[in-house]
């Protein structure tokens, strides 16, 4: 207590040093949310009298259900595919001790450099039978016309491939990193007890990296729910009308910038934010992912870091 009082004037300096970040956090993290909440009941073309009835109007919007179908279909494929594939690949990579492994890891990171507009350009080329590096395979499969691939009914699969291909490599490396952090003593003990590689992967490694897998699952889920750039660019630039208001974010964008209906757009944004927030809170409070850093004091953290260093040495 006494010490706290003694350093009180110095804390002011600390607060001043923290204030640039706090200002950014307030103005670009918290204030937009508050403004969005206040903006929801404002008067708009679809809600001329204003009020919270706008949420009902959003639910009744004929474009919401198709967007929900598209995005949920996309998520149903994308999230499990990502989790299963990434975990399997990182386990295989961890099992492998070949010297060429580092080059393979370098290759996996390459698709992560391709996002947004470049990803759209690449996938346009990859799936165009006259341009694709895989055109031999495509012709063999009987695909010779772009229209055989680029149609609204195929869009979910195309977007799943795009998102999966862009993100899988970097997540494989991240999960591989988490596997590398498992203590060798645990693995040795399991081997001595008669575990084969498959049992080692499923009974020892997987439970130990569970929290990282959940972390990935939440980030992938939250990111997938907010899919925008790829369908928007495909729709506006590559094949006009192929993905009109295909996703929630596109619908929100269209409400705001095509219809000038910011009340409805804000309501939809807030509705979409809720699952992301729940996911974030689940990771923070229901997994032990960030338990160490939110509950332990810096002193304890430093002591533990020293212990780890000593153990390593």
């Amino acid at each position: 207590m006494r010490q706290g009082r003694r350093y009180k004037p110095k804390n002011l300096l600390m607060i001043l040093m923290l204030s640039p970040y706090l200002l950014l956090l307030f103005f670009f993290g918290i204030l937009p949310l508050i403004m969005a909440v206040f903006n929801v009941p404002s008067k708009s073309p679809s809600n001329p009298n204003g009020g919270w009835g706008v949420i009902k109007i959003v639910f009744k919007d004929f474009r919401l259900l198709p967007a929900a179908e598209h995005v949920l279909g996309f998520m149903a494929l994308f999230v499990p595919l990502m989790i299963i594939f990434v975990v399997a690949m990182s386990l295989m990579l961890d099992m492998n001790t070949a010297p060429w492994k580092k080059y393979v890891r370098l290759a996996y990171i390459v698709p992560a450099c391709v996002s947004g507009s470049v990803a759209v350009l690449l996938w346009y080329a990859l799936l165009e039978p006259t341009l694709s590096p895989f055109k031999g395979i495509m012709h063999w499969m009987g695909i010779t016309q772009a229209t055989q691939i680029w149609k609204t009914s195929n869009l979910t699969f195309i977007l799943v491939f795009m998102a999966f291909f862009s993100l899988a490599g970097q997540w494989i490396l991240i999960q591989f990193g988490s596997l590398q952090s498992i203590s060798t003593e645990i693995l040795e003990a399991a081997r001595v007890d008669g575990c084969n590689q498959f049992q080692l992967a499923t009974k020892i490694k997987l439970p130990l990296i569970r929290k990282y897998v959940i972390y990935m699952g939440v980030l992938v889920f939250a990111g997938g729910l907010q899919i925008f750039v790829e369908p928007q660019l495909l729709n506006s630039s590559v094949y006009h009308g192929i993905a009109q208001q295909w996703s929630f974010d596109q619908l929100s964008y269209s409400l705001a910038f095509d219809n000038g209906n910011f009340g409805e757009a804000s309501a939809l944004s807030l509705m979409l934010l809720i699952p992301s927030l729940i996911g974030a809170l689940l990771v923070i409070f229901k997994t032990d992912m960030f338990e160490d850093v939110t509950l332990k004091s810096p002193k304890k953290m430093h002591k533990e870091a020293l212990k780890r260093e000593a153990a390593k040495a």
Binding site: M17, F28, P32, V110, A222, D249
Partner: protein, 309 residues
Amino acid sequence: MSIDFKETTPATTETPRKKKRKIKIGHLVINFWLIFWAVLSVIPMLWLVLTPSKTDREVSYKNPLSFASFHGYVRAWKNLQDFNSGVLARWVLNSITYNLAIVLIASVTASLAGFVISASRIRFKKAFLISTLIMMLVPPVALVIPLFIEMNKANLVDNPMSVVLISSLYPFGAFLAYIYYSSTIPPELYESARLDGCSDFRLYTKIAFPLSYPLLALLAFFAFVGNWGNYFMPYIMLQSPTNYTLPVGLGALFFSTPAINPGNGATSVPILKPEIALAGILVAVPVMIVFLISQKRLIRGMLAGSIKE
């Protein structure tokens, strides 16, 4: 290919030779799959890099992964430079300046925040950390419409400041800095410096900052990688083509030239597939170089606060 594959399962009816063969086949399948996925990961980027070496006709008729000539790159670059009175150079410059400003502001504010949280006894530390974690886990796209409304009220729409300020909020960086300072600098060091009369600001400049060069490099790396290819935020906030960044400019090339969609009609300067691919290279290659150099840091950083080495 020396794979440590100790088989210690209880004895079965299989002979050791059969078992060994099974394991060998298993390894071969795994190795083949790992290499296959690596090749698959590189092919699209290879296509992107090789396409500007060809003419538009060659792009469709030649082998997609063949190289034509270096002259192709020069021609595509000249055409891109002539497009819309050299607007591409402006986009490159915008991308560089906006990103420099973002990397600088984001890294400094995050580093300071991480230091204060680890070294001070200010109130509401836990609330601050939890709000930072929430901001870290919520995708930035979710806040775009509310941010546009805010920027509109502040008269900052179509002003590069809107993109720079919004993108400078770096909760992941603040969290990373907090972990770094908490686990590398002993609190006793701060305490003894305080007893020697060191002010909190000098604690940062004389003790924490000189010890945090690796952290600053990591902060700058993640800030750059996260913002260089960002499309959505600048697309919403910036409306004049002269304010665009490279990714938004690339998107504009898609819908204003016949390169991808011939229905868009011809432009005064031929902007076709090789030119578009070259613009794509300008967006992707800087990130690729940074990624390849720092892939280990990426892994450690992404798992900050939870990985035990």
